[in-house]
């Protein structure tokens, strides 16, 4: 019998630095029922099947009278914090077709390849400016000095958030991202803070949108606030979308950059090869997304009984898709625990998949590529100071809290 408490172990911060042995055990039972009647899905084939199954919902709206079960995972699906986010301002990651598709089409009219690629030069100068602040020092923290501030600045500029408001935004974004973690939602103090933050950011966005409507400029919020070729968003959707882009836009990219640099520091030969040949970056980023993905799992709900991998997930069950486990599935990837940027066949779930596939993926790739290439080029003799580094609390949005690196200076 498989261990019905594996998910609790995965969520245990003690296992944050290396959850992969747990994932390997889990894959022995690719669809595993937990004590709370939720299901963990960990094989590449089963996750793929479910991502493309029309009986899987992301909306997981709470029932009218949902009791607190006292079980964190169940509450993740059912409890009031979700009411707050999901019901009042459901962003599109918590919505199903056709609403999801309609919203996403509108966002895509603004999140254009031109706008994303237009951020390249700016991203490069931001990375250099951020690193220059550590000039003369003998150490940097990859998270605090670069991986954290970079994406929030980039997304704020793309959205059109005034630069003077950015620090406030950082605080809000962190708070809201925390609320997306299963256990945090169980904690009443966190719930209260989240609610407050949510009200604050919503009020701010409302004003900002009013401003964009009155004086539209060439940014995403102005575009989203206006009539688009794919239709017009309602105000609540607009606020929810803006908050989603802000939170997702930097709580995930920070992990991609930090996990990527950590992996490179653990594979100095690859760091050196990247320094000599920046053209390697795109494949290397893909391998980082497989090997140490920024988002380890997402949850869904079964709309009816779903047969998958020899098990039937019953109607109404909460389903956790363990992308990070599937990314190391030996049935899908040769030598999955080896970091190998040269692997040819790399269809990972680093950005999820199917209709909720990360819409910011092209931007994340650009930011990570520029950050890692520049770190490889500019850090002189980088040495990892803590291995493993301390991790942030999140088991899903997983990444180092700090990543201190000793250097002999900056190029």
């Amino acid at each position: 019998m498989a261990d019905p408490t594996l998910f609790a172990q995965i969520k245990d911060p003690a296992n944050r630095a290396d959850p992969y042995p747990l994932y390997a055990r889990l894959r022995g039972h690719p669809v595993l029922r937990q004590d709370d009647d939720s299901y963990l899905v960990s094989s590449h084939a089963a996750i793929r099947a479910l991502l493309f199954d029309p009986r899987i919902s992301s909306a997981d709206l709470p029932p009218a009278h949902s009791p607190a079960t006292g079980n964190p995972f169940k509450d993740w699906i059912l409890r009031p914090i979700k009411d707050e986010i999901v019901t009042r301002h459901r962003p599109l990651i918590f919505r199903d077709p056709p609403d999801h598709d309609a919203l996403r089409r509108i966002v895509m009219t603004q999140f254009t390849p031109e706008r994303v690629h237009g951020m390249k030069a700016r991203t490069q100068s931001l990375v250099d400016e951020l690193l220059d602040r550590r000039r003369g020092g003998d150490a940097i923290c990859v998270v605090e000095d670069l991986a954290y501030p970079l994406p929030v600045t980039v997304i704020c500029e793309m959205l059109g958030v005034p630069p003077e408001d950015e620090p406030t935004f950082q605080g809000w974004a962190t708070q809201l991202a925390t609320a997306l973690e299963p256990d945090a939602r169980h904690d009443e103090e966190t719930q209260k803070q989240t609610r407050t933050t949510f009200d604050a950011i919503s009020a701010y966005m409302k004003d900002l949108i009013k401003e964009k409507r009155a004086r539209p400029v060439d940014d995403m919020l102005s575009g989203l606030a206006a009539e688009t070729p794919a239709g017009r968003m309602g105000d609540f959707d607009l606020i929810a979308t803006a908050i989603l882009l802000l939170v997702a836009g930097h709580e995930t990219t920070v992990n991609l950059i930090a996990n990527g640099m950590l992996t490179l520091l653990r594979h100095p030969d690859e760091l050196e090869r990247l320094r000599r040949d920046p053209e390697r970056a795109p494949r290397l980023i893909e391998e980082c997304l497989r090997y140490e993905p920024p988002v380890h799992f997402r949850t869904r709900k079964a709309l009816c009984d779903i047969p998958v991998a020899g098990t039937v997930i019953p109607e109404g069950a909460a389903v956790a898709l363990l992308f990070a486990a599937a990314n190391r599935d030996p049935d899908r990837f040769t030598d999955p625990d080896r970091f190998d940027p040269d692997r040819a066949d790399n269809q990972h779930f680093g950005f999820g998949g199917s209709l909720h596939y990360c819409l910011g993926a092209p931007l994340a790739r650009i930011e990570a590529e520029i950050a890692l290439v520049t770190l490889a080029r500019r850090l002189k003799a980088p040495r990892l100071l803590d291995d493993p580094p301390p991790y942030r609390d999140g088991a899903s949005l997983r990444g180092p809290k700090t990543l201190r690196v000793a250097i002999d200076g900056l190029v």
Binding site: F52, D53, R55, C304
Partner: protein, 441 residues
């Protein structure tokens, strides 16, 4: 029957593949991938290396893609002798020899027949060869039609409301050309999709500016000085057109096999479930396999009903199946059971179909809605799910294909995302076959 099986091919066994299109290429590739190193000859009647056909009726005739850009990539070095431009003229199965049109004789130990199909020509040869009359099957056809469309014709007349006819009509509208589509059925695509669905498609097609003339056949194509000037319908009315596209389906390329003693049915090569070719005396030729549009074979998912599939995916899967069988022998290889699947891009939507709709007695729209031009519909027959149609939501189709393969009850998935509030069962409404009209062979 043990005699119907073949063992692994000898190291020096000579393999001939007749047909240098997708099924032949994939057959040859899988033969090599399975480890056969012996001499391999690939025969094709066109001078071109294998090319991809789906873009021909879309990007190529639209002028967005050069005809020769359709050449299929070489995924591995086949180490094959190519005989291109001189097709097969005959098969001597006793002497195990292929005779080419130029007289060359190619002895084989194992043979793959993948000669595909050709466009059904207009029944009247004099009318069908008027300048300005086109069929669309090969790369050269597409290049010629592209040139004609680029010359800004005054009106394009499309004869036949099947998938090719509709795709050509769609491209013509994209190019801003006036188009008339004439079809003996009540709506385009009705034969494959049923009227319940194709009635909606008819509205979209008409809304895109195509003049759709349903329920009518063509009496004649009319020419002047060797050039087509229009056509006369069954009711005697006429349509002026300077380009006519005859899109009446395809017929298997088996003329070269007449007299070979192999069994042919409606021109298709009769096979068993393992792609073994059948002789007229009912014996099997396990050393001869067939794949792709030319083959007629019993589909295990449909109770052994004989099917001939003109699908890209079938050419790939059946070609690979046959190639492996020729190289490795039969062993315990199960019968070929590839899921029938095809797609079409037209009028701004992507249509995909999994399974076979033929004989379906019920239809349900299980996701989306017809009026939004985004839906998933399933077809049932005797309580079982037999096909699934997606219009602009192909993401979900694999889940339904799985249900079809599992012979799931109809409808297979209730309570899906984006499900209509009432899940009603409709009659697919198959058109009664029109009376024998000149446009249909």
């Amino acid at each position: 029957m043990t005699s119907a099986r073949i063992p692994r091919a000898d190291e020096d066994a000579r393999v001939v593949v007749v047909g240098a299109s997708l099924a032949g290429l994939r057959g040859a590739e899988s033969l090599r991938l399975a480890g056969h190193r012996g001499p391999l000859t690939i025969v094709g009647d066109e001078p071109h290396l294998p090319y991809d056909r789906p873009p021909l009726s879309k990007h190529v005739i639209a002028g967005e893609m050069a005809p020769d850009a359709t050449t299929l990539p070489h995924r591995l070095d086949l180490d094959a002798a190519w005989r291109l431009g001189a097709g097969a003229a005959g098969l001597d199965r006793q002497a195990r020899t292929i005779v080419l049109l130029d007289g060359e004789r190619l002895p084989y130990d194992r043979l793959l027949i993948a000669t595909g199909a050709r466009a059904r020509p207009w029944h009247d040869e004099a009318e069908g060869t008027l300048e300005g009359v086109f069929t669309l099957r090969g790369r050269d056809d597409a290049a010629a039609l592209r040139a004609a469309l680029a010359a800004a014709p005054k009106r394009v007349l499309i004869v036949g409301g099947g998938f090719i006819g509709c795709e050509v009509a769609s491209v013509c509208r994209d190019l801003g050309l006036p188009v008339t589509l004439v079809d003996p059925l009540p709506a385009p695509l009705a034969k494959v999709l049923g009227l319940a669905v194709s009635g909606f498609l008819r509205d979209w097609i008409a809304a895109a500016g195509v003049e759709v003339r349903s329920n009518t056949g063509l009496r004649s194509l009319d020419g002047r000085d060797g050039r087509v000037v229009g056509a006369t319908l069954d009711d005697g009315s006429t349509i002026a057109a300077d380009v006519v596209v005859v899109a009446l389906g395809a017929v298997p390329n088996t003329g070269w096999l007449e007299g070979s003693g192999l069994a042919l049915e409606s021109g298709a090569l009769v096979c068993d479930g393992h792609a073994r070719v059948r002789a007229q005396d009912d014996g099997l030729h396990p050393e001869i396999r067939a794949a792709g549009d030319v083959a007629l074979w019993p589909h295990p998912l449909y109770d052994g009903r004989m099917v001939r599939l003109e699908h890209w995916g079938n050419a790939v899967a059946q070609g690979e199946y046959a190639g492996r069988a020729l190289a490795l022998g039969d062993g315990d290889r199960p019968a070929f059971a590839g899921m029938p699947e095809f797609w079409s891009n037209q009028f701004g939507v992507t249509i995909k179909l999994a399974g076979l709709t033929e004989g379906a007695d019920s239809l349900a729209v299980v996701q989306g809605s017809l009026k939004d031009k985004r839906f998933l519909a399933v077809y049932g027959r005797a309580g079982r799910t037999v096909a699934a149609l997606s219009v602009d939501c192909a993401r979900w189709l694999p889940a339904y294909a799985e249900a079809i393969a599992a012979k799931a009850p109809f409808p297979p998935i209730a309570n899906a995302l984006d499900q209509p509030s009432r899940l009603g069962t409709l009659d697919p409404s198959w058109p009664t076959p029109p009376p024998e009209v000149s446009a249909r062979g």
